[in-house]
């Protein structure tokens, strides 16, 4: 077989178990694809030696029989995950040279299942961004281009490297994290599938923290089935994360029947935004028709506090970030500024953080500091937490009225050009997350599925939002949508 890197996880699993290919061969094809894809700047730390060792171990395990689903499957890992002995710096200068002495629970679960680590993937610094342009490694580039146009496009963010790598077949799947849309928006921009599970499904232990009450890890894959397989391996109850849910992880893949007859799909009126491109609206309409044809009932619903989700997020996330990122002080790990004679510890902190953090991270840390400071805590932070309660209540009321899942666009546009937003004010960039951020604030699972191409040939995604802990049911709806949409387009190789 040629180009094994183009396989889905499910197909590779079948072939590995039948002995039609080895993990070593599969891994070599991925490493070769990565080597030839420098122009995408998706992989930023090479762990090929580790990959070869892990592939050999997986092959031994496959020979013994009874290998888990992910045994021998080569994956890319977002730079936010701490992986023992392999560099990880959350795409930040402040963690330059950091080599974790421990393994994140999610990656440990993947390695326990026999998966192979190909390398670490580009992202926005500390996962703060929607275009992968705030990375210390430089921009990741979308493998997709507009028809007859060489303009380099963003793969989205913050999991931009993960999205580009999966879309370009550099790996079979990748880990992402999602604090305000960082799995779903890049998945939509690159024509792949991505799911953010319910808050508490995946342990946050060992994942560099951005906003702890919103951060969740999830898989980014070529198909819904692959997402179900990989999510199952990532989830677990973990005593090392006090917010990790102590509930069983179901067999998500077994729930993919494609039968959604009788399911009630909510269509939220508030997601029909003013100025929304006609193509996004048409895609949303098409998605409704597909789910209706599959036997689901469409129901108009209202989520009245939707418009306050972004401002709420931009209080809560920076507040938590300012607290989480206080640990980067030049004492225990990462960068320390060169000091001048007479500089004391305060100068060391201030210079280290000014040199180590990029502009967007500095901005969010300072906004967070401000909204938590004496005199503003109630007006900003406490008010935002109250509005967050209302946003969650909107969803609870819809689910209580019988809605099984909610269908919405994933992004307000297709992928935009790198640098196109450089002169825009920060708020304009924040608007990218308008359809995704509500889900994080309410702690719900959300999945993005590629559903069509726009007039310039770029992929567009649809989002389904599910009830808490019902990822299996949600993935089944996504599976039905995937089958109906029949999205098979791939980016033409130019890199």
């Amino acid at each position: 077989m040629a180009d094994l890197n183009k396989l889905t996880i499910a197909d590779a699993r079948g072939a590995l178990r039948k002995g039609e290919l080895t993990s070593a061969e599969l891994t070599e094809d991925c490493l070769r694809a990565i080597e030839g894809a420098g122009a995408l700047n998706a992989f930023v730390h090479d762990t090929s030696e580790m990959a070869r060792r892990m592939a050999a171990a997986a092959d031994a395990r496959l020979k013994e029989g009874n290998a888990p689903d992910l045994c021998g499957i080569p994956l890319g890992i977002k730079d936010l995950f701490c992986t023992r002995g392999a560099p990880g710096q959350a795409a930040s200068g402040i963690l330059k040279g950091f080599v974790p002495e421990y393994e994140s629970t999610v990656t440990q679960n993947l390695w326990d299942a026999g998966a192979v680590m190909l390398g670490k993937l580009n992202m926005d610094e500390f996962a703060m961004g929607s275009s992968n342009e705030t990375s210390v490694y430089g921009k990741a580039v979308n493998p997709w281009r507009r028809k007859d146009d060489d303009t380099p496009l963003t793969p989205g963010g913050s999991s931009g490297g993960s999205a580009a790598a999966v879309a370009a077949d550099l790996c079979l799947g990748a880990t992402g994290t999602d604090t305000g849309g960082s799995i779903r928006q890049p998945a939509a921009f690159t024509g792949i599938t991505g799911i953010k599970p319910t808050y508490g499904r995946c342990s946050r232990w060992g994942i560099v923290a951005y906003a702890s009450s919103l951060d969740q890890a999830g898989p980014m894959t070529k198909t819904v089935r692959d997402a179900a397989i990989m999510l199952g391996a990532m989830c677990s109850h973990d005593p090392k994360d006090s917010t990790s849910a102590d509930i069983p992880v179901p067999d998500f893949e077994a729930m993919l029947t494609g039968d959604i007859r009788g399911k009630v799909i909510g269509i939220p009126a508030e997601y029909r935004m003013e100025g929304m491109p006609q193509e996004i609206e048409a895609l949303w309409d098409a998605g409704r028709a597909m789910l209706r044809d599959a036997g689901a009932e469409m129901r108009d619903i209202t989520l009245p506090h939707t418009k306050y989700a972004l401002p709420t997020y931009y209080v809560i996330a920076p507040a938590e970030a300012s607290s989480n990122l206080a640990r980067y002080d030049g004492v225990r790990y990462g960068h320390r500024a060169r000091l001048s004679p007479g500089d004391g510890i305060t100068e060391m902190y201030e210079k280290t953080r000014a040199e180590g953090f990029g502009a967007e991270v500095q901005r969010r840390v300072m906004v967070g500091t401000y909204v938590l400071s004496a005199g503003f805590y109630d007006a900003y932070y406490n008010r935002a937490r109250k509005v967050r309660t209302l946003i969650k209540r909107d969803f609870e009321q819809a689910f209580a009225a019988g809605v099984d899942a909610i269908l919405a666009p994933a992004t307000p546009s297709a992928a935009f050009g790198l640098g196109e937003m450089a002169d825009a004010d920060p708020v304009k960039m924040y608007l990218n997350d308008v359809f995704t951020v509500t889900v994080n604030l309410a702690g719900l699972p959300g999945v993005c599925v590629p559903a069509g191409l726009d007039a310039s040939g770029l992929p567009l995604g649809l989002q389904l939002i599910g009830r808490p802990w019902e990822e299996g049911d949600l993935l089944n709806c996504a599976y039905a949508l995937e089958q109906a949409a029949g999205f098979v387009a791939k980016p033409g190789k130019w890199w």
Binding site: V331, H335, M348, Q362, R383, R385
Partner: protein, 95 residues
């Protein structure tokens, strides 16, 4: 609510991020844009609404008060910018 350069300087100080004097006006302007966006939250009626503490209704788990890890001095110091004699080293803190 408008942020001036004095407030911007105070916030930078609180956040322990050095911002040069000439960068303060631009920083203050950015804060004002972001805070202007956040101001919308003032429109929402939050009377009687509890601020969210945990997105999932759950009791904080507890465990036995026992040592579960330790004895890893070398691991912990392995990434330190400056470590001496088994300790993190920093500029003089106490005169």
């Amino acid at each position: 609510m408008s942020i001036d350069t004095t407030t911007a300087a105070r916030v930078a100080k609180l956040a322990r991020i050095r911002v040069e004097e000439d960068a303060l006006p631009a920083l203050a302007a950015e804060f004002n844009t972001i805070l202007g966006f956040i101001e919308q939250l003032g429109e929402v009626d939050v009377e009687g609404i509890e601020p969210m503490v945990s997105v999932t209704p759950m009791r904080l788990p507890r465990r036995a008060d026992a040592v579960t890890d330790g004895g890893r001095q070398a691991d912990i110091l392995s990434n330190a910018p400056d470590a001496r004699e088994g300790f993190f080293a920093v500029p003089k803190v106490v005169e």
